[in-house]
């Protein structure tokens, strides 16, 4: 597992990887860590943190356990962040590959669509889509992905354009490989790595967008999200500011973690590339 070792080799990567594993574990074992529905009433309302051992972070204005909300919210944030980033990158890679590989009019038309999505404020688009299709988790994921796929598409196209003219692609063409096979087998794997380094930024932005949507009341009402918790805490901001502050801190820690992992991956990739060049040194 050389890539993993490389990521752990950087300070940012190591801290990020440890924190991310912790968050993933919390998300996976949320039902074990805090059994039951986090939306159920667990105690007296507006209990301040550290005043009851059973409810260490207190309760909100309806008496729901804040700690349970934060634990289950990890699940929502990570799921939405990862799913939206995956969808955005998958869509971006497909469009970028199609545009860069076909060239000509198809390229021109696809890139105008990319332009359009880059000009549209992603958050407004997400607002519109969620309000149109109703607030449910898949819609939120799709809405966030629609605002995020333009950058990977652009990068993918640039990659494909530079790879398309390489010798090994020409060789594949000469051997009579089907263009589709060339695109998928020869170009895609070589064009992908730089696009994947965008993943961390997209995941982080997706987590922030999801929280903003649910803060505005456009999240899935049956699922705990940090954004909703912050919004509900807003009504009692004067008497119980912790209700908004604590889930916000969870958000900040999660986003920082994702950035750190991204930083680690980028540095590891750069080093890996440098290592390759060194090894190839004399021949290349």
């Amino acid at each position: 597992m050389r890539p993993v070792r490389l990521i752990f080799g950087t300070t940012e990567g190591a801290i990020g990887a440890v924190l991310l594993s912790l968050l993933v574990l919390i998300a996976l074992f949320a039902p074990v860590l805090s059994p039951g529905d986090p939306l159920d009433i667990a105690g007296p309302p507006l209990l301040h943190p550290f005043s009851m051992a059973r409810l260490p972070l207190g309760t909100d204005s309806l008496g729901r356990d804040v700690l349970a909300g934060i634990i289950h919210g990890t699940r929502t944030s990570l799921t939405v962040g990862l799913a939206a980033a995956f969808a955005a990158i998958a869509l971006g890679v497909c469009i970028g590959l199609a545009a860069g590989f076909s060239g000509g009019l198809v390229d021109e038309a696809l890139m105008r669509v990319v332009d359009a999505f880059q000009i549209l404020p992603g958050f407004l688009l997400a607002l519109a889509l969620v309000s149109v299709a109703g607030a449910s988790l898949p819609v939120v994921v799709l809405a966030i992905a629609l605002g995020a796929w333009a950058a990977p598409a652009r990068l993918m196209r640039a990659q494909v354009l530079s790879i398309r003219e390489r010798d090994y692609v020409a060789a594949a063409r000469v051997t009579g490989m089907h263009p589709l096979e060339i695109a998928v087998k020869e170009i895609l794997p070589n064009a992908l790595p730089p696009v994947l380094t965008l993943a961390a930024v997209i995941v982080a932005a997706a987590i922030l967008t999801e929280s903003a949507l649910s803060f505005l009341g456009l999240g899935d009402p049956n699922i705990v999200t940090w954004g909703t918790m912050i919004a509900e805490g807003r009504n009692v901001l004067r008497s119980a500011p912790f209700l908004s502050v604590l889930p916000g801190l969870a958000l900040v820690v999660t986003v920082i973690t994702v950035y750190l992992v991204g930083e680690g991956v980028t540095q590891a990739l750069a080093e890996g590339k440098a290592g390759q060049v060194d090894r190839q040194g004399p021949t290349a």
Binding site: L120, P121, V132, A212, L216, L237, V252, V255, L260
Partner: protein, 329 residues
């Protein structure tokens, strides 16, 4: 000058198809929503029989085919007619014209503040890469970058409006205060301090990070080595050579980021109750006001195109390679 004109013309030529795509896209998106403005209106007045609904739909043209309505929409847009807002009972264009200046004031001051502070701190950090100052600034910028804007806004208003009571927590100005002239300007500035501060802190982190990274790139270039060899002072190298060239990617990023910034204003305006563009979007969403939401999305697309055009011109002014006569340093 002619070069600038050519640039503007080329930009406009590519912008028109893009705008058309935006229009069709938003139209399709909202066309297939369940429930229209008539439904929302009937709910708000407590219901009505199907005949009333059909009459209303006919009156608003909601019963025609999708294509016919797209054509109708496009042709009225060409006449700068954005349609009628069902929720506000007013023309959409009026609402947008009324709300846009507030948002431009908010975004403009926040961007200017963030750009100034962010680039300065980025230059301080990038002047000596990997130094202690650099590490502190980079860490702080990473943390700020990860903070959700709406949460920072809430925390700042807990501190400055609830606990310290220094600043008002909502609105654009004191309602019916009768203030005029400089007193009114001061009042607006006090009200905008928290939202502008919140947005500025979030954007500043981004500018800081990009400026620093960009400076790190420029340090490796040959002309910096040459400037060193000439014996120029470090201060002069940092400011005149490294920072100036490192500023270019920042201008490009400002353009790419302008759409995201406009989107970010929705949440901030909703927290601080500023009657701007973003809040209008939220109101349009909650009231299912399709023409209004389309108008907002379209206007923001045009706004982003204009901002990018202006930044292209700034880029041309800044880039030493594009203006050899200007290279005085």
């Amino acid at each position: 000058m002619t070069a600038a004109l050519r640039l503007i013309r080329r930009r406009l030529a590519t912008s028109i198809p893009v705008l058309l795509i935006v229009i069709v896209l938003t139209f399709v998106l909202l066309e297939f929503s369940s429930g229209d403005a008539v439904d929302a209106y009937l709910i708000s007045i407590g219901g009505g029989d199907p005949a009333v609904a059909a009459n209303l739909r006919h009156a608003y043209g909601l019963d025609q085919s999708h294509l016919a309505r797209l054509w109708l929409y496009l042709s009225s847009l060409a006449r700068l007619d954005f349609g009628w807002s069902v929720a506000f009972e007013r023309p959409v264009a009026d609402l947008i014209v009324e709300r846009l200046p507030n948002t431009l004031l908010l975004m403009g001051s926040a961007t200017a503040l963030a750009f100034g502070l962010g680039t300065s701190l980025g230059i301080v950090a990038g002047a000596r890469p990997e130094s202690a100052t650099d590490r502190v600034i980079s860490t702080v910028s990473l943390i700020l970058y990860a903070i959700p804007g709406f949460w920072l806004g809430l925390v700042l208003s807990i501190v400055f409006a609830v606990k310290l009571r220094w600043l008002p927590s909502a609105g654009l100005e004191t309602i019916a205060s009768g203030r005029t002239g400089s007193a009114r300007m001061l009042d607006i500035a006090m009200h905008l301090a928290l939202p502008v501060g919140t947005l500025a802190v979030i954007y500043m982190a981004l500018f800081m990070r990009v400026m620093r990274a960009s400076m790190a790139e420029v340090w490796r270039l040959d002309f910096v080595t040459f400037a060193r060899a000439k014996g120029l002072s470090r201060r002069r190298i940092v400011l005149r050579h490294v920072a100036r060239n490192a500023l270019l990617p920042l201008v490009t990023m400002l353009g790419l980021q302008s759409a995201a910034m406009l989107g970010g204003s929705v949440v901030i305006e909703s927290i601080f109750a500023i009657p701007g563009f973003g809040r209008l979007a939220q109101e349009a969403v909650t009231q299912r006001d399709t023409p209004l939401l389309l108008g907002i999305i379209l206007t923001s697309a045009v706004l982003v195109i204009v901002v990018n055009l202006l930044l292209d011109l700034v880029y041309a002014l800044l880039d030493p390679r594009l203006q050899p006569s200007d290279r005085s340093a």
